[in-house]
């Protein structure tokens, strides 16, 4: 920070959580003054990102002591601390919020959506709870913000108010709330009963407290309870949530919400069970196979989706399971690869979603089959889409290639050669469902009535995906730094 102005870490965390709330209040107050409202939110979003950067500069990749905000029960607090994975997640969430907000302004105006203030207001709550999840220092706090995130995104999914949107929102709600209450809450309370604490501790809190059949059962309760990680068979909410306006799909359903899910999964694996404990007991082996199945099955389903956003949704389901897979391998390479995938996939997928939204804003096309020849009219959008796809597929020099590499190393370490086959097959399937979209747009003849001259979406709509597409390239070169940053995760 400039000069002598210094903010301590906790203040920065609290302000990062409160600032989006201020933005929400601003949205309500300036509901009828669109320009002031949107610029106000943009400033706040930048400030929030700044607050996270302060945390980064203060703490680096160290792990801090938990600071309690409330005492709820004896032994259970609402408390926060900083650790590398959470900090990375917070950086991604708040950084992409700025970009998505710019995009959202363009999208909502370009598309004549209604109720802007309500939309951005709930968006802010969602961001605030993402930061809460990122810095939660125990499972209770994490669960608290996890549920707030679910509830605050519900109005966003149902935003259009059409029967279709309501139905989608209902599926969204029932799966996310249902799994979290039925499985995750049970698992959390069970953990508490068994170990007497819920604090995230390096090396896990369950070692020596449980044995035998309880370990895989407990892990199963967590894995299925974290519905946001979209592990099959609880993945249906993600395609259903695609009825939401695209900024929601882009930030929340490619970055914040789903990443909150896999982030929780990672936290549970690393800090509740402990990877060594998982490796010793072999409790996560079944989860590994389930994740592998989800990777392949979701990719196959994606092949047959004509709706672009649905195809991207299934692709997300498949990519999320890489992270679960990394955790379930219970090796340090797996954990690192999975954690890195959180960042890499976020950047790639948000690009793709924003491109899908740009196409919708300009030409109101949602189906892949309708997009023939559009590439000539929207070269920037489809160029960004191509880069994003390549990153998802995992080709160098794009960010997405690193996590796959690390996961393969992890698979070698554990002698799971079949998993290497799964990863390769998945990449091939990615090629099969991603590249034809771009291919159609650039090379197939356009049907009559499609503009062939340059006619891009509004500036505010095409600029953000172009930026994030460049971001995926940049991430390829900074991967080493991220790896180093995440190193404390695997230290004993």
């Amino acid at each position: 920070m400039i000069g002598s102005f210094q903010l301590d870490t906790m203040t920065a965390i609290y302000s990062a959580m409160l600032l989006p709330m201020v933005a929400m209040a601003g949205n309500m107050a300036f509901a009828n003054l669109p320009n002031i409202r949107d610029i106000f939110t943009l400033i706040i979003a930048t400030l929030t990102f700044g607050a996270i950067l302060i945390v980064l500069s203060n703490e680096g990749n160290g792990i801090t002591e938990a600071v309690s905000l409330f005492n709820v029960f004896p032994g259970i607090d609402v408390a926060f601390n900083v650790e590398p994975l959470g900090l990375l997640f917070a950086l991604i969430g708040s950084g992409l919020w700025i970009i998505t907000h710019i995009y959202g302004i363009g999208y909502m105006r370009g598309n004549n959506e209604k109720h802007h203030a309500r939309f951005f207001g709930f968006f802010c709550i969602a961001i605030s709870s993402v930061i809460g999840i990122a810095f939660a220092s125990n499972m209770f706090t994490l669960f608290l913000f996890y549920e707030i995130l679910t509830i605050s995104t519900y109005p966003l999914v149902a935003h259009k108010g059409t029967p279709e949107a309501i139905r989608g929102a209902r599926i969204y709600m029932s799966i996310l709330i249902g799994t979290s209450i039925a499985f995750q809450l049970t698992a959390i309370i069970w953990t508490y009963v068994l170990s007497g604490t819920l604090d995230f501790t390096q090396g896990g809190i369950l070692e020596g407290k449980v044995a035998g059949w309880i370990v895989p059962v407990l892990l199963g309760l967590y894995a299925f309870g974290i519905g946001k990680a979209a592990l099959m068979p609880f993945h249906k909410w993600l395609p259903a949530a695609m009825v939401a306006p695209t900024p929601v799909s882009a930030l929340l359903h490619a970055v914040a919400v789903v990443k909150a899910g896999v982030f929780t999964m990672m936290k549970v694996g690393v800090y509740v069970f402990g990877i060594d404990f998982l490796a010793q007991t072999g409790a996560s082996e079944w989860l590994m196979w389930l994740a592998a199945y989800t990777i392949i099955a979701a990719s196959v389903v994606a092949l047959f989706q004509d709706n672009l956003k649905k195809r991207l949704a299934y692709s997300t389901i498949s990519q999320l399971s890489y992270i679960t897979l990394g955790m379930a391998m219970a090796t340090s390479m797996g954990v690192l690869g999975g954690s890195m995938q959180i960042a890499m996939h976020a950047m790639g997928k948000i690009t793709l979603f924003m491109c899908a939204g740009a196409i919708y804003v300009k030409y109101h096309k949602t189906e892949v089959s309708q997009m023939q020849g559009l590439g000539r009219a929207m070269p920037i959008t489809f160029g960004a889409f191509l880069i994003g796809s390549l990153s998802i597929i995992g080709l160098p020099p794009l960010g997405g290639s690193w996590p796959k590499f690390l996961l393969m190393v992890g698979a070698f370490e554990t002698d799971q050669l079949i998993l290497i086959g799964v990863l390769i097959l998945s990449s091939l399937l990615n090629v099969a469902y991603m590249l034809p979209i771009v291919g159609r747009a650039f090379f197939l003849p356009a049907p009559e009535g499609t503009p062939t001259k340059f006619a891009e979406a509004p500036f505010l709509v095409w600029l953000p995906p172009a930026m994030t597409a460049l971001g995926t390239i940049a991430l390829f070169f900074f991967a080493g730094n991220i790896l180093e940053f995440l190193n404390p995760l695997i230290q004993k």
Binding site: F70, I148, P155, A158, R170, I181, I189
Partner: protein, 524 residues
């Protein structure tokens, strides 16, 4: 006991020593005052002042006893067990606070609601009956004398029948609802008296502490056991313990909204307290028949209630009726917590008594505001009102989330403790794993019924001819005080948890928790 009497005679008593009796006397004397003044304008302020005073007294009492000691007050200086004793410890101070608090906070709400829903000429008598109902509920909880419990129970019940019947101005079915409630309530209360008679036959005393002492001395015999059965069934009717709940949905649906608020939050809770007091303090939990009753009868019935009532609630098309069925299910949670017979379970039950009380009061207030603005509480009438009455509906959503048990709300904490208690039990008996799963699954049903209501309020198209506007401030303030309480107690439970835990410990001590003051050297 001689010591108690001695102290009572020699120590000069200040007003603070009279708090237990004042708690009952204040509302009790207000009732005839309201009738004597006979003025419609004075009735409400008098009632409100009395309720506030009762709330302050209950709060002072709770502060005195939350560390684990208790206050014993002898009526007229007649020492127990001959005289009537009022006794406040952590368990009942907690319930007293809930009842008087809800009583005080509901009255501002009732001011508007009653004007709308009750015939004008009945207003004075309505508030008089309201005060009597409060007297009965508070008395039932504060007293340490078994027969006194019955008397206060009947005071509250009789006034409740009157209050429920006042809904007749809007819907004549309120009359039959009140009549049904009267028949069942009287049978329940009479059963309770039979049980007391048997206890008296076996022990020759009616003082609760003395009863506990003598039952512990002589052990179980057939008279004592059958007395227990009568008391539990009689109180079970008042608690709306499944399957004795039949009076509840109709009474809550057709009563004036303000009465639904009061009843849902307090009436069943006071009865649950009596059940707690009798099963744990008077009868020793060490008796096999007590334990068996809890494990073999309470637990399964509670689980059935959780599922069946929640399931029925899902298919309702009327807010008040849906909330009524949900109340039956929530009573199931409380009874299940009691049936665990463990510290965590009892703490959960006592905490849930409080949390569910404020949550349900909030929800019924929301329904009452809808009734005021739309003339009915059917879902279709309230369609899309989230846009026209955002402040009311916002509070309703908070209440709904607490009912589901979403973290950050009061309802979550008690559910958390309840599941924790089940899992603790599971270490010894794997059956309880299934119980934990049942708790969790039944709360999924509550997601469904709450979400249905929320969808109606926010996602349906409002009736274009509807003239509904935001509810008046007199309704919004109590609603948001409760909503803030629901959130506050979702985060900071130090005060509540400690008190509930203390109460649970006292109850689990069994008869020892009821030893006369002189022996324990407790506060006078």
């Amino acid at each position: 006991m001689a010591v108690t009497a001695h102290v009572a005679e020699t120590t000069a008593r200040t007003l603070a020593d009279h708090l237990p009796i004042l708690l009952v006397l204040v509302p009790f004397c207000t009732a005839p005052l309201i009738v004597l003044f006979g003025s419609r304008r004075l009735a409400w302020p008098l009632a409100f002042i009395a309720s506030l005073a009762a709330f302050v007294i209950a709060f002072l009492l709770l502060l005195t006893v939350r560390e684990g000691n208790f206050v014993s007050y002898t009526l007229g200086g007649w020492a127990p067990p001959l005289g009537i004793e009022y006794r406040v410890d952590a368990a009942n101070a907690f319930v007293l606070l809930l009842i008087s608090g809800i009583g005080a906070i509901t009255l501002p709400f009732a001011y508007v609601s009653v004007k709308d829903e009750v015939r004008k000429r009945d207003h004075t008598l309505f508030y008089a009956a309201w005060m009597l109902c409060l007297t009965g509920l508070l008395g039932m909880v504060v007293t340490g004398d078994a027969f006194n419990v019955f008397v206060f129970l009947e005071i509250s019940s009789l006034s409740t029948y009157v209050l429920v019947a006042q809904g007749a101005a809007r819907d004549r079915r309120a009359l039959t609802a009140a009549y049904d409630y009267l028949i069942m309530g009287t049978i329940g209360a009479t059963f309770f008296v039979i049980g007391l008679g048997m206890l008296y036959m076996a022990t020759g005393t009616l003082n609760l502490a003395d009863l506990a002492d003598r039952i512990a001395d002589q052990g179980a015999n057939r008279t004592v056991r059958s007395g227990f059965a009568f008391i539990i069934v009689g109180m079970g009717l008042k608690v709306a313990m499944f399957p004795l709940h039949l009076w509840l949905p109709k009474a809550y649906t057709f009563a004036p909204s303000a009465v639904s608020v009061l009843l849902s939050a307090t009436a069943t809770k006071a009865a649950i307290y009596v059940v707690l007091r009798f099963t744990f303090s008077v009868y020793n939990p060490n008796f096999s028949f007590t334990t068996n009753t809890l494990e073999i009868i309470f637990a399964p019935l509670a689980i059935i209630a959780m599922f069946s009532a929640s399931f029925v609630a899902v298919f309702q098309t009327n807010f008040k009726r849906m909330l009524a069925y949900s109340s039956i299910a929530q009573v199931g949670y409380i009874l299940l917590g009691i049936a665990f017979l463990s510290e965590t379970g009892l703490t959960a039950a006592i905490l849930h008594i409080f949390n569910h009380g404020i949550t349900k009061a909030l929800l019924f207030m929301g329904a009452g505001a809808l009734v005021l603005r739309t003339g009915g509480s059917f879902y279709t009438q309230a369609a899309g009102l989230g846009r026209k009455m955002p402040i009311t509906c916002g509070a309703f959503v908070i209440g709904g989330l607490s009912l589901i048990g979403v973290p950050g709300t009061a309802g979550f904490l008690s559910k958390f403790l309840l599941v924790q208690a089940a899992l603790e039990k599971a270490a010894d008996n794997a059956m309880y794993l299934a119980v934990a799963v049942a708790i969790v699954l039944s709360s999924l049903l509550s997601v469904v019924y709450v979400w249905r209501a929320i969808e109606v309020l926010f996602l349906q198209e409002p009736d274009p001819n509807s003239t509904a506007t935001e509810a008046p401030l007199m309704m919004l303030i109590p609603m948001w005080i409760l909503a803030a309480a629901v959130i506050w107690f979702g985060f900071s439970t130090d005060f509540l948890y400690d008190t509930a835990n203390q109460a649970a410990l006292g109850l689990l001590d069994g008869s020892k928790g009821m030893l006369p003051a002189a022996i324990l050297g407790g506060a006078q």
